[in-house]
């Protein structure tokens, strides 16, 4: 680990000042400190924001929820407002990491967490994300867990967050605060596809702080849930995952929110699947038909071609689990 300075702030203003001079925000530390140990991350200054007042969950007028950026994963998962209104969020959180990590990690940190690509995390390997211009060792390396969607010549690393997949399905908005003021960015635009600049992972200006995540109102009733497919039953990142939230009225799907994880360089909104669902009546055939569009545009690599079928099946399964109509 490289030496670093450590500052603890108790006010947002002080945090922003520290961020503006290049300090890196530290919340639960479950990603950043790991990566510092591997020398993937080498911040000169850590700004501990744990004491900032960003730890509440509140209902928004007109429906929807505001999740403070420093809310613990475990607290969010069991919060009554979350659990009753957005089970997909609770489930995505509870299928993440381990209880110990969920007790430490924050929601803001979760959506900012960096990829699990083994070559990114091994500083002796070529990685455009870690060291732009050095190449991508994963593209022709061991890439079983890598992305099939949203990849570029420069990077094929999978976005690891489950929470972000659920938030992406629900159309959540990330609230940002910088010295220049506040911004609101839909999560689908906040987390960036790698393109030619895989080192740039978020629409985050220097020193900007994630303060909250807003889940917008959805028509009710909304049934939702998260399915995560992985090799072992707990404590592993997704091979594939599906977040589904459906508004079914009078037996007809009026609104469909579907996103996939484990397959994209970013949380992957399945617009084609959603379109295939809206206006239809739940049925086993519909789920399969809609899910067959899940891997549109996918580009498999040597070891992850199985994800194409697995993604479709994962989405179909979760559509059935949430939408019924077996």
């Amino acid at each position: 680990m490289y030496p670093f300075a450590y500052t603890k702030v108790t006010e947002v203003r002080a945090a922003l000042a520290a961020g503006a001079r290049g300090g890196r925000y530290l919340a639960g530390g479950t990603t950043l400190v790991d990566l510092m140990r591997e020398t993937v991350e080498r911040p000169g200054e850590l700004v501990d924001i744990e004491a900032l007042p960003l730890r509440t969950i509140q209902a928004l007028p007109g429906g929807g929820l505001r999740l403070g950026a420093l809310v613990r994963m475990s607290d969010a998962a069991r919060h009554p407002l979350v659990r009753t209104a957005y089970p997909v969020v609770s489930e995505a959180l509870e299928l993440s990491a381990s209880p110990q990590l969920r007790n430490m990690a924050s929601l803001g940190g979760n959506i900012l967490q960096r990829t699990r690509c083994g070559y990114f995390r091994d500083v002796s390997a070529a990685c455009n994300k870690r060291e732009p211009g050095t190449g991508c060792a994963a593209r022709d390396g061991f890439n079983r867990t890598h992305a099939i969607l949203g990849t570029s010549a420069a990077c094929v690393a999978t976005h690891p967050s489950d929470l972000a997949v659920a938030l992406c399905a629900l159309g959540a908005v990330v609230r940002l605060l910088g010295q220049a003021g506040t911004r609101q960015v839909p999560i689908g635009e906040f987390i960036l596809e790698p393109g030619g600049t895989p080192q740039r992972e978020h629409d985050l200006r220097p020193g900007e702080l994630v303060t909250a995540i807003d889940i917008p109102p959805h028509p009710r009733p909304l049934t939702s849930g998260y399915l995560k497919v992985r090799d072992r039953q707990s404590y592993e990142f997704a091979l594939t995952s599906a977040a589904v939230a459906l508004h079914i009225d009078n037996g007809v799907i009026r609104e469909a929110n579907v996103a996939a994880g484990g397959v994209g360089t970013v949380p992957w909104k399945l617009n084609g699947v959603e379109r295939a669902l809206v206006g239809q009546r739940p049925s086993a055939g519909l789920w399969e038909r809609a899910a067959s569009r899940a891997a549109e545009g996918a580009q498999p690599l040597r070891h992850n071609a199985f994800k194409l079928d697995l993604l479709k099946r994962t989405v179909a399964r979760q559509l059935r689990v949430v939408g019924g109509g077996r």
Binding site: Y119, R144, V229, R313, R317
Partner: protein
């Protein structure tokens, strides 16, 4: 005179359990050694080639850094031949920091020593090594092989041609790493020419002999201490290069040096279960009677040593077979030398053979358990010797009964539970009853307490406890009056703590020493006119709870304490030893297992979950059923890992281990481990050793993976011939 069995056979809790759960037990790196410096290894980042430059200019300027040692500035060490048999017989071990050759990715190429661990870690990342890289050879399937080891009986080639039922299948198993909880760790301290090492080791003498050989000093000049071992599974049977590196650094700097491998480094400079390609051709008749088996086996080894293990025995002794041909070729690759890992060889052989037996069972339409019964041999057909004990039939019968095997539908893919396909499978297993020469010493003090010692280890099976049980019963004391000590090279010689040999070998030596003490006491008593036992037949004197008495006259007796007080003795002591029978073998010695598994497979999503398992073992006498269950459960958990999760991935371009961490190298978590049950068939093995034990810790892992793989076939109708079985193989 046989002592009553009080402790032996009963499920006593671990005597060191409280120390472990309270954190008081000191593992290698926990020892507080004054004035210690911290060492961190720099690993090669190429898979083969030469070091052309070692740039330490930045590293040495950092605060606290005391030295950066590489082949450029390390003294040349003698590296004498090590006479112990735990290194491969062919080839030469890695000489750490002695030359510019890189043999595998992650090889130690330098070491940084600093005043704190953090300083050393940081400086290690700033040592710049230049390389002239070559393309490593890493393909097990295509690389040229070493001269094979072969075995033949009968004419397998012709018998295969003649057999009405033929199978020709190839199974593949992944490389696995041991991944014990405790990483390799060592503290080295020199006092003049005397080296003291606190090491994590499964064999005190492996460290002692290797360090003595590397530095060219007498064994007696190296003292090794290793009182607690946080899991091993075989990885600590050998002294890996980090130990000489730590000792070298300590000698160069004149200060004690502590060196702990990172989890990532646990995949680099230490061994692993090699990956295998195992082609099996089987000929059988239409009733499932086996006629012939041909085994063509390839396994990875390093280019600098030829690692071989017991992959052949299973194919020779498990079933009755007139015609067997075996061809076992190791394939030198640019990798670290492999190392024994739980059930070494036997587990891989069982996977291939027991999977193939399952295939034969379906081919001929015979129940898999019945197929094993039909091929039960009456003797060891590789030697013609009788089995000392062989209770595989009992294992199969008890397993089938307790597992509910008879309710199993014969046809694959015939049970469904929602989205899950349910299947059951079973496999037999065999493991060598290993025994090695061992020594011990025991001392009984006049206060009626005893201390027993042997330089063995306890990596988790409960050696502290089981040896205490043996000593307590043989001495006729309660367990809390006996203290068993281990893990110090000044103690009597013990063999490697591996191969399930410790109970049979060290346990028998402990029994011998304690027998010696009890006999001394009995002799004192029966010859002492003042003793109530004066004149008694020594053969009829027993000791219970520290009191000697005539077996049929419990009132006639006295305590050790009174006896010794009156004799003016403050203690009795005795040395003990065990020598396995030498000369012409009279028996064939093996332990046996039958493992049954139920799995649920979500075939659409490629998910396999083990629902329950049962292992039935013929391991001879069970000294402590609680510890035995702990072993059995651990062996089954490890088997779940082998079958479904564990796979060390090598990047073929440069030999990089692509998943050198516990987030990407998957081992089972609690959620993957369902109800696991173990049963031990009754009976000891009096021919094997004085305790009648056959060894358990290896056996419980053998047969687990094929039982799961066979259950996956039964659930899905799909035969995957590769481990681990993962989602992409089941789509």
């Amino acid at each position: 005179m046989t002592q009553p069995r009080v402790s032996m056979g009963s499920g006593r809790p671990r005597v060191e359990g409280r120390l472990k759960v309270t954190g008081a037990a000191r593992y290698a790196a926990d020892h507080q050694v004054g004035d210690v410096l911290y060492a961190v290894i720099v690993d090669s980042t190429i898979g083969r080639g030469r070091i052309t430059d070692v740039d330490t200019s930045v590293a040495v300027t950092l605060p606290g850094v005391r030295a950066v040692i590489s082949h450029r500035n390390a003294p040349r060490l003698p590296y004498l031949a090590n006479p112990l048999p735990n290194n491969p017989a062919q080839g030469e071990r890695l000489h750490a920091l002695q030359d510019d050759r890189v043999h595998f990715f992650g090889q130690p190429v330098a070491v940084v020593v600093a005043g704190t661990l953090e300083q050393a870690q940081h400086a290690a990342t700033l040592v710049r090594i230049g390389y002239d890289a070559e393309t490593p050879s890493l393909d097990l399937a295509s690389a040229p092989a070493n001269e094979p080891i072969t075995y033949a009986r009968g004419d397998a080639g012709q018998a295969l041609l003649d057999a009405p039922v033929r199978l020709d299948v190839t199974y593949r198993t992944a490389r696995n790493h041991h991944n014990p909880m405790e990483p390799h760790a060592v503290i080295a301290r020199w006092e003049g020419d005397q080296l003291t090492v606190w090491d994590k080791t499964q064999w005190i003498f492996a460290a002692q002999f290797e360090l003595a050989a590397v530095f060219g000093i007498p064994q007696a000049s190296v003292r090794v201490l290793s009182p607690y071992v946080g899991g091993g599974f075989g990885t600590s049977l050998r002294c890996w290069p980090h130990a000489p590196i730590a000792a070298l650094a300590a000698r160069e700097l004149g200060r004690p040096v502590k060196l702990v491998l990172s989890r990532r480094q646990m995949y680099f400079g230490t061994g692993f279960r090699p990956s295998y390609e195992y082609r099996l051709r089987i000929g059988a008749d239409r009733t499932g009677r086996l006629r012939a088996m041909t085994h063509d086996i390839r396994a990875e080894t390093s280019r600098y040593e030829n690692f071989v293990e017991s992959i052949l025995a299973t194919g020779q002794v498990l079933y009755s077979l007139p015609h067997v041909s075996q061809h076992y070729a190791t394939v030198p690759l640019d990798v670290c030398t492999p190392q024994y890992m739980r059930g070494p060889g036997y587990a891989n052989a069982a996977y291939a053979i027991e999977s193939a037996m399952d295939e034969v069972a379906y081919r001929v339409g015979v129940d898999p358990v019945e197929l094993r019964h039909r091929n039960e041999p009456t003797e060891d057909e590789s030697t013609g010797l009788p089995f000392s004990t062989r209770r595989l039939r009992e294992c199969l019968l008890a397993g089938a009964r307790e597992f509910g095997w008879s309710e199993r539908p014969r046809a694959p893919r015939s049970t469904r539970d929602g989205d899950w396909l349910i299947g059951t499978g079973m496999a037999a297993g065999v493991y060598d009853t290993a025994r090695y020469p061992a020594q011990s010493r025991a001392r009984l003090d006049a206060d009626g307490t005893a201390v027993v010692e042997a330089a063995t280890s306890d990596m988790g099976p409960g050696t502290y406890t089981s040896m205490t049980q043996v000593a307590a019963d043989v001495l006729g004391l309660d367990m809390d009056r006996v203290r068993f000590r281990l893990g110090d090279s000044l103690m009597p010689f013990a063999p490697p703590h591996g191969g399930s040999a410790t109970m049979a070998s060290v346990g028998s030596a402990v029994k011998d020493a304690c027998d010696g003490i009890r006999r001394q006491a009995v002799t004192l008593a029966v010859r002492d006119p003042r003793s109530p036992l004066y004149g008694a037949d020594p053969g009829k004197v027993v000791v219970r709870r520290g009191r000697l008495s005539v077996r049929d006259q419990p009132a006639r007796g006295e305590t050790y304490r009174r006896l010794l007080d009156r004799a003016g003795r403050d203690h009795l002591e005795a040395a003990g030893s065990f020598e396995p029978p030498t000369g012409e073998a009279r028996y064939s010695f093996y332990g046996y297992a039958a493992t049954f598994a139920e799995v649920a497979v979500d075939a659409r999503l490629g998910i396999v979950r083990v629902r329950r398992m049962l292992g039935v073992y013929d391991a001879g006498r069970i000294i402590n059923p609680v510890l035995a269950d702990s072993q059995a459960i651990g062996g089954m958990v490890g088997g779940i890992g082998t079958a479904l999760l564990e796979h060390t991935v090598t990047d073929p371009r440069d030999g990089r281990i692509a998943n050198a961490n516990l987030a990407d190298y998957l081992v089972p978590v609690n959620a993957d481990v369902p109800a696991l049950r173990a049963i031990y068939v009754r009976g000891e093995d009096p021919e094997a050793d004085p305790l009648g034990v056959k060894g358990l810790g290896e056996l419980v892992h053998v047969g687990v993976a094929p039982a799961i793989a066979n259950a996956v076939f039964h659930a899905t109708g799909r035969r995957v011939r590769e481990l681990p079985i993962t989602a992409e193989m089941l789509q």
